[in-house]
Subunit: 481 residues, 4 copies
């Protein structure tokens, strides 16, 4: 293990030297790269620890603590339990303007436990695993924040750097609670990155989404003896989904609606008194989601009326689409190129080939190169993130960094395995460096910050941000030992 | 034709003689039987004329006129066009109490035109035909009424006899309009009969029914270009029927609901702006129909809400179930036995066998015997009649008389054919005589009338009669030449 | 407690004396009544123990053992674990013909735990309870069997008496597995009783039922990213129920179909790969169930085809309707009258009033009288029992005995409470005596047995019995401590 | 009227002169422009005649004849009744290569009759009208063909020019039958134009579509008496649409599916024996349509199985998407610019304002300018045309020409009115000239033809064209006088 890490360090240094050669690099930026290298081992150790903890949404106690502690050890002032979420925290350093933030996620996905092996092999049966690579997300971002802190400390840069420990991205919309608490309000710019199978500056949006539970309450009766005395809540749920399916004809092609029954009767011989449908509504724009949600509510009301039962539509949470910032992406792209592509060993390449084959997909190799900057296009794909909400409050710059083989299936054990070994580590260090360099520009260049904000305001237009959350505190699960 | 009629007269006389032998028959009843025989040829001629006219609901101009004229010729005072229906009339004779009524129908069914032949052979392609035997219904009842009129004329009986020319039984609920106009209100007892494949005193009820049109109005749009701008009325109609089908679990086993789409879109590339479902709801009791109808209306409202369209529930009409009168049926039974069974010639029997075989059913012969009086039972079968409404206003005594082979398919050309020849004629004469004799008892026996009314009141209970009709005049079709 | 029991004994004796006075009672029958009285306390103690064990289907280890032990102590030869069910047993005494059987159930219902108090008060939260009174069923029947055994022992009667310990009536169809194993094949007649709110000889049938799981298997996909690559098993399940609901129009009024979704998706953003519907189909006749089941299978196949998924219809189990035996019921009625009505104390009557009021229903008192023998009628109500299968193999005589207030809601805590105190005990003793006396007639009277069998054969007609079970052993749950 | 036409001629000449000034125009092209001007009055008279005939699909007898005659009078060889369609014809002139075709449509739309007035005013109530402007389509294209014919005649150009009289575009897929007959097989390039509210070279595709009728056949029964003996075809139709609506989740966003019920029951009291759904399936690609159609067929089969009925899926016809040709569009654009923008009089502008206001839309003026050439993009909009099939056989160049106010509602009386007066006429002449000039380039420039064909082959790829038609002759309606 040790030897391997040494090799990685050497390779990392090599690639950085190569990158530096491509372009003239300022001394401040050089210092940032050096700083990330200095913390490299610690960042990797934190990533591997969080990978093993594999804690799911709002239960990331150990994961949050390891990051918060490291920030404190490095001189940050840490506020824990922000926004009424025990595993959310904010680590700050410096004072005054500008204030540049960076996000760090660390929640795992249920059921994806896996060893750092190129074959399906759970660490612990039915346990959670980092199938979205969030174990690297937190440490990588913290690495960049610390590098900047060190520049502020030396007086190279002026202002405030803030690391946000943002739990519960996969479920429960952690950042939206943090946003509702106003934690992002005073930022000039915010950065984030995400594990991926390519290195790329983010210029594409995500889908806005709302997550509802539609509940129906009828009247039970013996289904064989006197079904006419019952009012079936399950009938209402079925009418509701019938309505949703017909509605599909009457929504724009960018809309997605999907549901499951979360309650659908206990035993056949009782007319179901209760039933519930769990439904998500997505669109490329929050306004589109809002419009379709109104129709959904009418469908719920109509379904209840048809079945002669009561109903209730409960908002679980909602996420905004990402407001892309092309100006920011351009700066990021330049800095990614300064860092230079990731290089891999033969062992890593073999690991990538083996794991893809073992999953049943053709291996397309590891893409360590830096993809070209792509113009923003109308959203085609699907997927949502609570980064969208942050991007509606403050200009957001997003990076994708390679931590898995090209076209690896996301939310799978493949991503877990690669995130627990050197392929993942390298992507994380690449991210830390690229974001660190980008922050140098943001701190130094007020004109750049202005251009970024202007684009932000233009894209936001008249849309205002409002947390799509139910009233009351976040749904923090009770701790069970 | 003439010879045949002669034969029938002889046979008729014969059967009557046989019947008279079974029981002592009073001189007044004997006079009634004689009277029917006297009018026999005229009754048959009227039946055959109406059979040829084959006029459908509310268009029975010639059929009504031939009956009204014959009543007038026989000294009845005729009021035509009652209840705002041109083809409805009331023919009265006598004065004072008791007032005994008898109903006569004469509307045909669309598309059943047929010759009096034992093989499918339309008189006129796609024309109407008397597939329910109503051509015999009017003349048969009028025959009984005239026989009674002659007894009142002689002073044998005292009171008033009334023949009701009741159009539009098959469709449009003619008697309900007549009932709404109060035409049955002052009757002591009312009688009716219906062609059938057996001779039987009626002790079983019919289904109450309501007939609705549920219309939806949405917003059209190009189904390929911008379906999201449309609101589909057809979606709403489909939701509505989905709701009705699920409701089937939550209604009593006596309920029947059935529908068709009367409007369901014009061309696929236009989101349908209009749609309509035509639905009938039945139960063994009107109260059951009313209860289910309320649920149906909620389903219509819910379906409209689900589709985002407007809706309207229009009552076309509704019929009550028959309030059976077992006391009345018992009197009728006795008088049927006085009249005695119908006898058939070999030719008639052969005709019956041939026609059933030609239709594709096993022949079960002609049942001229008088079936035993059956106790009233909870309704099992299905079918509705506007006689039900009359039976809620005045005690009703109902007779079934054989005019077709046993188990003949009703509303078919088989019934048309038999109703246009001697098999039908015999049943009609049997009905005229049985009802005439029964009326003698009703006129003479105040105690009997009291018992009949007591049963009527007991069965009616707290239920009140109210016409289930839309506001406004009856839906008399415009006359087209 | 003791005093109370003493009072009950005295009252019991009193009622028996009164009954005896109504009719001449044979010495053998008198001996049977005495025998039940002798075992009264033990029977009650067993009933109360089973009531406390409250063990659910196929887990009735203690309940079965207490009964099996008592049978053994009383000289029966006991075979435990019959039909591969650990809690099923057969206890026999005597030899040769006739062989008369009697059934004893002892399984409880989940979630109905309740103290013997007239107010809702669980013994143990969410535990099971005897909401169907089966705690009394086993001991009551065993009491009758022991009384007969004592007559065989003395030589008063000749032949074999058999007590069947029949587990899992509420769920899992215990008797059908026992029937499949041939355990009832050599019986001449079989008897059973069931707790109720009236004393009545059974002349009405139950519903035949089949219990199926319909499973669908599709292909999962990301519901936002590429739903077109998914095939939704949930769509298929919804199509299936749509088909079932429409089918309701096309089945006879005696049919009942009811379902719940046992699997209906996990999270909205994944197209559900698996879904399942749990459905029961009932009719007044097994042949009706079979016919509708065929349509159900076509609907399942059609739904799968529509959704582009695979499907599987798995039979869980099925029950026959009860073949009524009116001849047997007549004998039973006579013997119930010999035993005489149950009398209640003021305290018991107050308990009954209080408990009904507490449940929210009007009290209609305790009906200790013996209801008149009712003729067999076509089934109106709903409900099924695995006694139906036994009744297809051997003539079955069934008794209902009062163990709860009139019109008490069955499968509720009201029934649990009354079954755990003197109201229940009295009903059980009444049942033991009535069945014991009836068995005396069955043993003694070969002609009676012949008449009973003739009716059995007539009602059975051409229908043959075949266990409606999946292949393989009974679904005995794994023991968890 | 005459004066007005004179004015138009002057204005037309004026605009052409202006256009000529913009660019150097070859003498051959100048001759083509002159030729169109020479035939101007005749072309307008033909357009107005066809506008008045307003004949619908496959019934365009007079419309086809007026065009065929004019072609013959101008020296074309005309073959009438091609592809077994009486109103289809091909008019040819010249010989040898290249062979350049041009399409002319002339069918009207039902129910859109309208005068050439800016307010809704039918020429004849419920009659057809040219709501898609096809009255101008045929004469405009013929004008271009004649201008080329005159150049071949003089020896300026070499090869063959062919005018295709293509009936039944709005319905019944006329060109697909002509394509199936091989009539387009030997063309080098084909041209067409379409009335619009802007002048634009076509670079966007249309939707591929298939048009099916899905029929179900069950078994009728009396819906109240014995619905269990019926098998409802309407149930099946409803299952089918339920399946289609659920399928919407599982098709790509480019897919459109829309349906109406073409048969949905006659009267409620009969279980419907027959039902039918008329459904169109569209996608941006024919392969997408084919894929979804397979799922649709499975849904039809599944629905039939669910309802226990028979089914049949009948293809009515299908259309391919347009294979865009950007090289061809570029040439067309250049020639449109040579012709120059359309200019309007104050009266015409006032007419446009009035008619839009009268329809209830804001007036956006008449756009006589030539829109910029747009790059080909993935299809967003909706709509299909049988030009798509031609474009799969031969490279197709398409023009849109302004004949109505900007954003006028298509398939409305607004388009009818404008197509019957000078606004429409000007667009038609613009089209004739632009297409004529483009054909000059196509005849002269073999290299251009090669480039156009290379793009055609590249876009077509491995897809082969096959007529999506039922077997047998075209559905020519019987002639009724």
């Amino acid at each position: 293990m040790k030897n391997q890490i040494l090799l990685i360090i050497l390779l990392g240094t090599l690639s950085f030297t190569t990158a530096a050669a491509q372009d003239k690099i300022s001394s401040k930026k050089q210092a940032v790269l050096n700083s990330v290298e200095k913390h490299r081992n610690s960042l990797i150790q934190m990533s591997d620890s969080i990978w093993k903890y594999a804690e799911t949404a709002m239960k990331e106690y150990q994961s949050a603590e390891i990051l918060a502690n490291y920030a404190e050890q490095n001189g940050f002032k840490v506020e824990r339990g922000v926004a009424e979420i025990p595993t959310a925290f904010v680590a700050s350093y410096g004072s005054g303007s500008p204030i540049i933030g960076i996000l760090g996620e660390y929640d795992a996905l249920p059921g994806l436990s896996q060893q750092a092996e190129p074959r399906k092999a759970p660490l612990e049966a039915s346990a959670a695993g980092h199938g979205c690579g969030h174990n690297m997300f937190g440490p990588g971002s913290l690495g960049a924040a610390i590098a900047i802190k060190e520049r502020i400390e030396t007086g190279d840069l002026k202002g405030t750097v803030r690391f946000y420990g943002t739990p519960a991205e996969e479920d429960l919309a952690g950042k939206v609670y943090m946003a509702r608490a106003g934690l992002f309000d005073d930022l000039d710019v915010c950065l984030d990155w995400h594990p991926d199978y390519k290195n790329k500056a983010g210029t594409q949006s995500s889908q806005a989404v709302t997550d509802y539970t539609v509940s129906f309450k009828g009247k039970s009766a013996h289904a064989a003896a006197d079904p006419w005395n019952g009012r079936s809540a399950l009938d209402a749920a079925e009418f509701f989904t019938t309505g949703i399916n017909a509605l599909r004809e009457h929504v724009k092609p960018t809309v997605r609606m999907h549901y499951v029954y979360s309650k659908a009767g206990d035993v056949p011989n009782v007319i179901p008194e209760e039933a519930a449908v769990w439904i998500w509504i997505r669109d490329s724009k929050r306004s589109g989601v809002a419009e379709v949600s109104e129709r959904m509510k009418e469908i719920a009301a109509g379904a209840a009326l048809m079945a002669g039962v009561e109903h209730k539509v409960s908002l679980n949470n909602g996420l905004y689409e990402i407001l892309v910032n092309e100006r920011g992406a351009k700066v990021l792209q330049k800095n990614m190129e300064l860092v230079g592509p990731i290089t891999y060993t033969d062992e890593e390449r073999a690991f990538a080939d083996t794991i893809m084959e073992s999953y049943g997909l053709p291996s397309q190799g590891l893409h360590g190169d830096i993809k070209e900057l792509e113009p923003h296009k109308e959203l085609q794909g699907g997927g949502s993130t609570d980064v969208g909400d942050v991007s509606y409050i403050v200009p957001e710059i997003s990076l994708l960094a390679t931590t898995a083989p090209y076209n690896a299936p996301w939310h799978s054990w493949v991503v877990v395995a690669c995130g627990g070994m050197s392929i993942g580590h390298k992507g994380m260090i690449f991210a830390a460096k690229s974001l660190g360099l980008t922050m140098v520009d943001l701190f130094e260049n007020a004109g750049l910050r202005k251009e970024i904000r202007e684009e932000f305001l233009r894209r936001k237009g008249n849309e205002t941000w409002e947390a799509m959350l139910p009233a009351g505190p976040p749904p923090v699960p009770a701790v069970t030992n």
